[in-house]
């Protein structure tokens, strides 16, 4: 993806004096996004009398927690200049493996281990093809997107797996305390972990460096291929966590599970201010974007707007958030 845009490399202007940090924070993408989130929240509470109920709000979080967990890992991958379109298919394959294991009586810990192992293997396969053979990640993952879900279709056909053990439901249907679901706790935990990993470790700096200039990063002693491989592993692993949560929440596995989620995950990441060209973005941005998307879909749902219309909104949002700043810059000269 990086050399797709050689011609677009803008000359970086270095200002004489940096703005005050507080001023800069006020003008940041995250602040704008937060304002949007608050506006949607207020609009929703006026639009529907059912919105402000704590249990309804808790239900609303299920719209985005699973996707957001993948989005954290995807954000790092996109910042590093790669992409993984096979995440939803990885969920399908991991869920199918868990379903098959549940049929032969494997218990909950075993199911989780199998789900995570399969998704890790999917990530490793993507990573090996991209970093080992130097192939473009977009084609590789379009291929594995077909392959992984295709294997689910071979195994399941038009059938479905049910009969998960009763305590397996804890991940997707359990509550940690009061209205705070287990999934929401996992979401918060992973937000924190990925935030630290990206913003407070050498690894995180390496991710930015690779996304900005992979060649320069390599000459600075960063093992570019290894970092990218780890990022594919992480994305696979987080797809596995999402697969566990989603399978547990639905209580069944069909090969069409999580169909089209790759689009929503990428939208969430881009909406969160991550540059699709790599090199820029933050985890707090992705967290707020997750809330924005969750609130929009939930609010529209309360107003009985059909799912496919919501996907129009998501698609338009994806283009608008990238187009508007560019239009603004053009208009200002």
């Amino acid at each position: 993806m990086t050399d797709m845009n050689l011609t677009r490399e803008a000359v970086r202007a270095i200002p004489d004096r940096l703005e005050h940090p507080a001023r800069r924070a006020l003008k940041s993408w995250e602040t704008l996004l937060l304002a949007v989130a608050v506006a949607i929240f207020i609009a929703n509470s006026f639009a529907s009398p059912y919105f402000l109920d704590p249990w309804n709000l808790s239900d609303a979080t299920f719209n985005f927690t699973e996707k957001a967990m993948i989005a954290f890992a995807m954000a790092l991958l996109i910042i590093a200049g790669e992409i993984d379109l096979s995440v939803a298919s990885t969920i399908a394959l991991a869920s199918t493996a868990m379903g098959a294991a549940a049929q032969v009586g494997v218990g909950t810990p075993g199911l989780v281990a199998i789900g995570l192992a399969v998704s890790l293997a999917c990530g490793a396969f993507n990573g090996a093809l991209v970093t080992g053979l130097g192939l473009p990640s977009i084609v590789v993952t379009i291929g594995t997107m077909s392959l992984y879900r295709g294997i689910s279709y071979i195994v399941l056909g038009d059938q479905a797996y049910r009969g998960y053990p009763a305590d397996f439901a804890w991940f997707g249907q359990g509550y940690a305390f009061w209205v705070i679901s287990v999934e929401f706790v996992l979401f918060a935990l992973f937000a924190l972990l990925f935030g630290i990993l990206l913003h407070a470790t050498n690894f995180g700096r390496a991710v930015y460096a690779i996304g900005n200039n992979a060649t320069a990063a390599a000459f600075s002693g960063i093992r570019v291929e290894r970092v990218k491989f780890i990022l594919f592993l992480l994305t696979g692993l987080m797809s596995g966590v999402a697969a566990v949560c989603l399978t547990s929440r639905l209580g069944s596995t069909r090969p069409s599970i999580a169909m089209g989620w790759e689009l929503e995950v990428v939208t969430m990441v881009v909406l969160g201010g991550v540059s699709i060209l790599g090199g820029a973005g933050s985890i707090p941005g992705v967290v707020i974007a997750a809330f924005v998307m969750g609130l929009v879909t939930f609010g529209l749902g309360l107003l009985n707007v059909p799912g496919i219309v919501m996907s129009i909104v998501i698609g338009a949002l994806l283009i608008a958030v990238i187009a508007l700043p560019r239009l603004w810059r053009k208009w200002r000269g």
Partner: protein, 328 residues
Amino acid sequence: MTLTRLLKTREAMLAVAIALMLALIASRFPAFVAPGNLVAVFNDTAPLIILALGQMVVILTRCIDLSVAATLALTGMVVAMLNLALPDLPVAAILAVAVALGCGLGMVNGLLVWKLDIPPIVVTLGTMTIYRGTAFLISGGKWVNAHEMSDAFKAFPRAQILGLPVMSWIAILVVVLLAVLLSRTETGRAFYAAGGNPDAATYAGIDVGRTRFLAFALSGALAGLVGYLWVARYAVAYVDLAAGFELDVVAACVIGGVAIMGGVGSVAGAVLGALFLGVIKNALPVINVSPFWQMAISGAAIIIAVILNAKAGRTRGRIILRQAEAAR
């Protein structure tokens, strides 16, 4: 080009692979290679061939169009509803509407890529959902069924000319037009140049953005054309029409040796890539393999093809120049 080098090209390898596949199937099921059935297989693959050619032009310019299947569905829905409202509208007008609408939708993609510099994958991921959603909005989720379509509307793609259905003839016509466009016109060379080396193309006086815009418009127009043919041939229009078909289209290109980084690809390659997938799809039920295998097989085929492409790219070097020399 010497004979040995010719045999090593992607096109020759694919042709041999398809011939081998046909021979293997024929050894157990001779009826599959009967001329009548081969015509049916070709006709069934015609939409994929047309779309793969449009996609190839987009990929040549270092872009990608993931909205082709959604464009197809929206155009198909619009012409089906148009036929429902005005049953007496001639097929020529329907064809014009389909191509114009598809072209317009492609131009939207192209404008966003050209004027706003938004990465093509983001643009077309977005428009993919918007176009299909729009098909839902205008139809209210309802189907247009066979009995609601006029006879002329349904008959056009199936009409036989010289033993081939019109659908196949249109595919052949598109193949010829694209072959001429890409090898004999300035615009055609610009597609290769814009993707092969955008900087060099700019210095050579080619407007890279405008070239990409034209590629998207062409891809959209072809998707619109297929939208009508598809709806008329299967005599049904619904929102989820051809859902996921964009992946088969990209797969056909990648298998046909079109390099995703742009600048490399041939009409023959894309056509053979589409035929490769078409033969597999039609052969699976014959050799008693569940159709559920098809998705995994095309996924595996994409991965194998992209590995082969990368190897070929490393050893063969600058393809554009060589093709230019060969064309002289």
